[in-house]
Assembly symmetry: C3
Homo-oligomer: 250 residues x 3
């Protein structure tokens, strides 16, 4: 399976252009869009989303990941990462830093394959998609092994990010914090509001804002029958605090 | 064929997560998104959309329907419904009440299959998608027969709903009224405006607002070359009236 | 491959309804959405997008194109066009005028096949989709040869359109001008701003607005790390000028 993780938005031609390349270079491999609206030009938020949402896809899945504001620059390298039995293809701007910490040791390659025609602004189509197809066909990684970039240290990109990293269609706000790393009855503070933990929407009164462990293990803020992000004025990057003890993470 | 009918929105991970489950549990069965933006947390509007739009899909299609504000509560049951030769999987919150009246008598089952891991907030992925896959594979319904819920009476959920139930990308406003249940030259009143019936956009002057029978048989409000819902300030739930005689519905 | 090019928007039932028809009338042919959000009711902008983005799809691809404000009128004909080894199905409102000029001479047919039931407002589902399926199956064109409509002259629809024709998810503004038809260092004027050409986002300072040749050969306006269309207040149809010499187009 090839899984798309991009900040392209759901509209426009870019996803279709990539699917065209994938269909032409693979034989009936399913292509699934995981996120088409990862936060724009924000590999940091994307890194935590990717780590939380990639684990439920089958081993050997190939994640084609394009959050790539540095496209076409000499500094930004194109890489393949193998982590937790899955493949990740995309830029080395930090997007793979969190997923690299899951499972056993990750392996990194710099892509040295080049297409006949490489545009300056759409490596998703021209470089990453053909490489994803190569991996999905079970062929050798078209690159040279490299060390995991030292740039992304644990200090700058902690295991849990106490920030809003995504706001969904329901106005729910996802954080980069894994619920299992905080105390069961921790309270969450965001924008001056202090929120209790509940299990699901129907456990609280209509309109009440609360936090819960979402179905992918992240701390998420929601309002029963309402839009928490609108009510609280939340944006991606807003900081959250958890009170009541932080559990030692595994 | 598996048909998705949800209020998840087109963006975000939820549709991709469900497709991952479907692809892993079926063998190349096509998956089509019918509505990804059914009105949020509104099974009532959804029920009329589902009834109007499901009939053109082939017999034996499986509709995976997730408009599920009550997810995780003890009151809300998970059901399978067979109506008009098609399968419907989802919550028993009324979403299937209108489609159950089409064709011959509908059959209902309460799902008693449970996955190894059931989240509190995403039964679409954890419960309904695997059950849809079971049905699409032609296996037995993983549940026990039940009566159609008496909760949803004809009074509360009439055969025709005189309300706006959806506003599309063109600013057209769909009602829950079947055009064949109103007089051919009925006039429609909404928000103080009185609208005539016409056949199609090019039959009226640019900007004129009118109603017509849409391609799925519903009374729909449109403006030629414009956005009727914006011009009239329409929202989902706004009431409409039809003047000029209501035909007895079969 | 069947490629969808529509102004339906990404949400709503219309794309799913069309895919249902395609799946029922073809055998596992991939369906790719190129544009679901072509400018609404704007075949002129659509014509330049289609010409710029269709060329990378494989020969024999069938483009199902629905930007069709005249649907249901007697004046608007339903056509099949063969241009540059690819098939195009849709209305004869100018949408195919630019793509007809690419490659060798284009061929045109008026569709005379009719479905059992033809709605007045959704020929995309009822007429164009079944015809696209017929072509994708390799069968004969279900229509009669016609001349390319004389209506669309080169004066009204020039080879390069000096207007904004699309604004993408990143706030980039695409023009209908092919970069190879302007001088390499031409400057672009739009809404009083004068923009230089650069190669890619990372070649300019954060926030700087510039133009570049996009990955499909069009002149595109962007801001590094920003949203050019918002900063400049750009809309579809806004005129652009290029200074510094226009290269003779081939």
């Amino acid at each position: 399976m090839i899984v798309l993780f991009t900040d392209f938005g759901t509209a426009g031609p870019y996803l279709g252009q990539i699917k065209n390349v994938l269909y032409q270079n693979t034989d009936q491999i399913p292509v699934v869009e995981l996120f088409a609206d990862a936060p724009v030009h924000n590999p940091r938020a994307g890194a935590y989303l990717l780590a939380a949402y990639s684990g439920e896809f089958p081993p050997a899945s190939v994640f084609l990941c394009v959050v790539d504001p540095g496209v076409g620059s000499a500094q930004r390298r194109a890489v393949v990462v193998r982590a937790g039995e899955r493949w990740f293809v995309g830029p080395d701007n930090g997007l793979f830093s969190i997923v690299s910490r899951t499972g056993s040791k990750s392996e990194w390659w710099e892509i040295n394959w080049r297409p006949q025609k490489l545009s300056s602004t759409f490596h998703g189509r021209d470089l990453f998609a053909p490489v994803a197809a190569i991996l999905a066909r079970g062929e050798e990684v078209p690159g040279a092994p490299i060390e995991m970039p030292p740039l992304v240290t644990h200090d700058e990109w902690p295991d849990d990010l106490y920030e809003i990293i995504y706001i969904d269609h329901f106005g729910n706000a996802l954080t980069g914090v894994r619920a299992r790393s905080v105390a069961t009855h921790a309270r969450l503070e965001v924008k001056g509001a202090m929120l209790d933990r509940h299990r699901t929407y129907s456990d609280v009164a209509q309109g009440q804002i609360f936090w819960y462990e979402n179905s992918n293990g992240l701390v998420e803020i929601a309002a029963a029958g309402g839009r928490a992000a609108c009510s609280l004025g939340l944006s991606i990057g807003d900081r959250v605090k958890m009170f009541g003890g932080v559990t030692r993470c595994q």
